[in-house]
């Protein structure tokens, strides 16, 4: 289980950090333009960090860090439906349905 001190450190650290991210420009910077190279990298933060986070979770999803075919299948369906429809909830629904069908249907 998650340690209580760690949890509250993360809650307030993340709250303060997120507020600073949100306030920096509105509050301090005004409408001075940002350097182009910085903006160019910022554009790809979410699309790089989220796959980097999720890939090991998908590939090593078994109890002992093994590869779990049901999870791989659910991940592929989620990604395919999400890319195709651009709809977050259709993607979640399709991925969850695939996983449940494989776990309960074949299990």
């Amino acid at each position: 289980m998650i340690d209580t001190t760690l949890l509250w450190t993360v809650i307030f650290g993340l709250g303060a950090g997120s507020f600073l991210l949100r306030f920096t420009f509105l509050g301090f910077v005004g409408d001075r333009p940002l350097p182009e190279w910085l903006l160019r990298h910022l554009r790809y933060t979410a699309v790089a960090i989220l796959p980097a986070l999720v890939t090991p979770l998908v590939v090593f999803s078994g109890e002992t860090g093994s590869t779990e075919p049901t999870r791989i299948a659910a991940a592929i369906v989620t990604l395919a439906v999400g890319t195709w429809t651009k709809n977050v909830f259709l993607a979640i629904g399709a991925g969850a349905a695939t996983l449940l069908a494989l776990v309960y249907g074949l299990g």
């Binding site: 998650i2 991210l21 420009f25 990298h41 910022l42 796959p51 979640i92």
Partner: protein, 236 residues
């Protein structure tokens, strides 16, 4: 009298923001369920949602805390996921920068995907709006989304304590992340950034202290930025 038009701007914001309730609600509820499953109390879940208000960053922090990553890695990764709000802040500043400081503090606290997207589109389309009218519209777009955000976090946390233990919830988080990533793969630089991040995350899976995530994220960002530059040079 301008108070009438400020009020109508606020109501227009509430109206335009209403459909986005359907997006914020399920995410908040899912966070509530998963956080409860991870051992958080309802009070802790509500504090998390109230203090941070950032779906993807909250999911990231939750996952990394369960992986027992060092605190600094948890914070850096979750903030990296949330970096886009800094860009939203920059984009809204020309329109809202003239408002009083206390309003800008509240506006910053409430800055999320929905309030940014709706307000920026509105301010571009209606340049005649005064700063108070813009602020009123902005707070209007936040109103319903925030109410639903907190209510759904609570509902999810309450539900999370009652779910049967054999539901495969371990994989709900990966599915949620994948569903968020998929619509982001709009352009070739985005696809390359994601692909490089995936490859590096697998290569770096044994790097200690969850630093592999930072390495993979940085590699993906650089790959995306370089691909964009390369495409631009080729187009000229």
């Amino acid at each position: 009298m301008s108070s009438t038009t400020t009020k109508s701007a606020y109501l227009a914001g509430v109206r335009d923001g209403a459909p986005f309730v359907a997006v914020a609600g399920p995410f908040a509820a899912l966070f509530g369920v998963l956080a409860t499953e991870a051992g958080l109390s309802v009070f802790e879940v509500m504090s998390f949602s109230l203090v941070v208000i950032a779906g993807a960053a909250q999911f990231t922090a939750l996952q990394l805390m369960q992986d027992e990553a060092p605190t600094i890695i948890v914070l850096m990764s979750a903030l990296a996921v949330n970096l886009r709000v800094a860009m939203y802040s920059a984009a809204l500043t020309p329109y809202l920068g003239g408002a009083p400081l206390w309003q800008r503090i509240f506006a910053a606290y409430l800055l999320v995907d929905q309030s940014y997207a709706l307000s920026h589109a509105k301010f571009e389309a209606a340049p005649e709006l005064s700063v108070p009218q813009r602020m009123a519209y902005y707070f209007g777009t936040c109103t319903l989304v925030m109410i639903v955000w907190f209510a759904s976090s609570y509902a999810g946390a309450a539900l999370g304590t009652t779910l049967p233990p054999d539901v495969p919830l371990d994989f709900a988080l990966p599915i949620a992340f994948l569903s968020m990533v998929a619509p982001m793969l709009r352009t070739m630089p985005h696809v390359i950034a994601a692909f490089v991040a995936v490859v590096v995350s697998l290569l770096a899976v044994n790097v200690p202290y969850s630093m592999g995530l930072m390495l993979a994220g940085a590699a993906g960002m650089i790959a995306g930025a370089q691909t964009e530059l390369w495409l631009k040079r080729r187009a000229v």
